[in-house]
Amino acid sequence: MVKRKKTKSRPTQKPKKNSGFPNPKPVFFAKKPLSPIHAEGEIKLRKQVQNLSYVFNPSSIAIVGASRNPSKIGNAILRNLIHGGYSGQIYPINPNADIVENLRAYPSLSQVGKKIDCAIICIHAKDVPHALQQAAGAKIPSAVIISGGFAEIGNVHGEMQIKQIANKHDMAVIGPNCMGVLNPQNKVDSVFLPLHKMGRPGAGSISFISQSGAVGGCIVDLAGAQRVGMAKFISYGNGTVINETDLLSYLMHDEKTKSIISYIEGVNNGREFMHAASSLTRKKPLVVLKAGKTSAGSQAARSHTASLSGSAEVFSAAMEQCGAIQAQNLEELFDLAKIFEIPAFLGSKIAVLTNGGGNGVLAADAIEREHLRPSIFSAKTIKQLKKILPPTAHALNPLDIIGDADSARYEACLQLLLEDENVDAIVAIALMQTASLDSSIVNVIARAAHSGKKPIIVVSTGGEYTQLHKKILDDYGVPTFDSPSSAISALAKALKYNIYKHTKP
């Protein structure tokens, strides 16, 4: 027994003081202290994170690496700022030019001699720490480092230098290896994709944080094209100084941001992320698309539990626990971005209004699949509906007001559904293709949605003519979807969040 005790191998753990048997009182290892995952209240921002406001609302921006060559990133950013409508001061930094894009250029940050709020850095990785040091010397409180070539390719030293300089001076630094930020409100734009190639969204209430610049660019472009407004977009790259957790904390306090969507490949510290996220979701919805879901249990797992709780499953559980809504793919991420524009609702009784039968049936299927309930209209509603509807239409949910419906019939029915207490939310399916439905349907639906009585989402499937009308609705802040299933899935997730928010922990 004694001999056996001595030969026990514990490669990773601290040694035990003694062994248990037959001593009934087991002795266990020294424990690591655990940081909290449930936030007690709002998270107070540290100075460095507060300084992010200089990134989003700078009165002056310097661009380190503002090239004259239009194919260079620094030049693209400079032109985007000038032509995008940014109204603050712009200082190009370029040691080889006096004038860039008709602006006076300076050889270095320290030679500008004026107050600079944010430095956008897009030069070779090896020169970045020096530039950042100069920014610190010039008392610039924030920087966006676009340049790649750091930890992602093994240059840990360069990344450490950035971290040290930023932390020493409480600088809010986004990046490196990122596309930076976009604030449609004041046209702050460090995204190096040219304006004619990537559309910019208008000002809105959705903020989007993305580890990947590429994914970020696609969603932002899509938002621009579909007229979905954004509050802030942040591509944070390596997250060396300001990481995803800091951004969540900042956006929680940001008044312009009403909901947050995120694309994440990994988190810096799982427990801290949960802490920030659970604090955030008390106030605002958070949608997470996690990429890089590795296979379930690792091969090395010894117990059932470990083999059943792989990193993807644990991450998903963590998001569930802090009230974050999970998107499975980019399309869903975008759908979920829009869904939170509708007023919050807590009931699961869904009414479907449609001028096409099949689409209504698809919606009914989706309602069942998503564990929502179809509304059963009140006797009063049914009585009124019968007066409005032609004899060939039934006063049932899904309410198919048939293919010859015009905007007036649509509106009359929509009004009745808004008044029915057995209806918690309305899915308005509008087949724009019918002869009788004209463009006024857009106003009908927008008016009903803006009455604020009940959440209304729109489903319209179709080509150019349909897309045009959908864009207008989205512009009005009425979320539109391409299919009944994507609409109702988003609706179910919104309800899930609303219920989470109203449930005691």
Partner: protein, 211 residues
């Protein structure tokens, strides 16, 4: 590796008791005589289980005998189990309670999120159906409620088709204790498998703790 030996298996059960997680009555037998003595004390029927580092999944290795109703069958099965193992590996004598629902519960230290707990549908199809749900510790009341409700087999657990279900509040209590255990003791992995529904409620029939 230590926990796979008999002495630590005792400790594993002791650990559960420390956190008020109910276990089936058990004892370790040194020989067949001993096994019969324990069986009488615990009360028939009993189960015999081989505790060996060679055997991870007991049912696959036929390393357990269930529903032994008398001394004769205990002796016979003891002899059979002994042949499967080096002489010093102990054999566990345990109360055998027929169960209608088998669950699995457990926890692991996750590199990203720290201690986690898990619950799911147990039995031989656990790894195939993967009907489990996970939470990060400490799990609050809401977390545990949603964790149970998230299981696909939740309607079965509540009781379906005339079968009585489990006490959800008892399961919640066990998971709460498990969360506390993971948080305070931080073992690398813990498996309560199976967690059985017997006439006395939910009880841990087997447990393994890895440090």
């Amino acid at each position: 590796m230590a926990s796979k030996t008999g002495q630590n298996s005792t400790m594993d059960f002791t650990l559960l008791s420390k956190y008020n997680i109910p276990c089936l009555p058990f004892a370790f037998a040194k020989n067949a005589q001993d096994a019969c003595m324990h069986a009488k004390k615990i009360g028939f029927p009993v189960a015999l289980k081989l505790i060996s580092s060679k055997v991870l999944h007991k049912s696959e290795h036929h390393a357990l005998s269930l529903n032994l109703k008398d001394e004769y069958s205990v002796k016979k099965e003891y002899a059979r189990l002994q042949k499967l193992t080096p002489p010093h590996d102990p054999i566990l004598v345990q109360k055998f309670s027929p169960s209608t629902i088998e669950l699995i519960a457990g926890g692991k230290m996750d590199s990203q999120f720290g201690p986690t707990i898990m619950v799911g549908l147990g039995g031989i199809y656990t790894e195939i159906l993967k009907d489990v749900s996970i939470r990060i510790c400490p799990a609050q009341e809401r977390d545990i409620r949603s964790m149970i409700a998230q299981l696909k087999s939740f309607p079965v657990l509540k009781g379906a088709r005339g079968q009585s279900g489990i006490s959800l509040s008892q399961l919640a209590k066990i998971l709460h204790s498990l969360s506390l255990l993971m948080e305070k003791e931080q073992p690398a992995e813990i498996d309560i498998n199976p967690l059985l529904l017997t006439s006395d409620g939910l009880v841990a029939a087997d447990v393994r703790v890895l440090w």
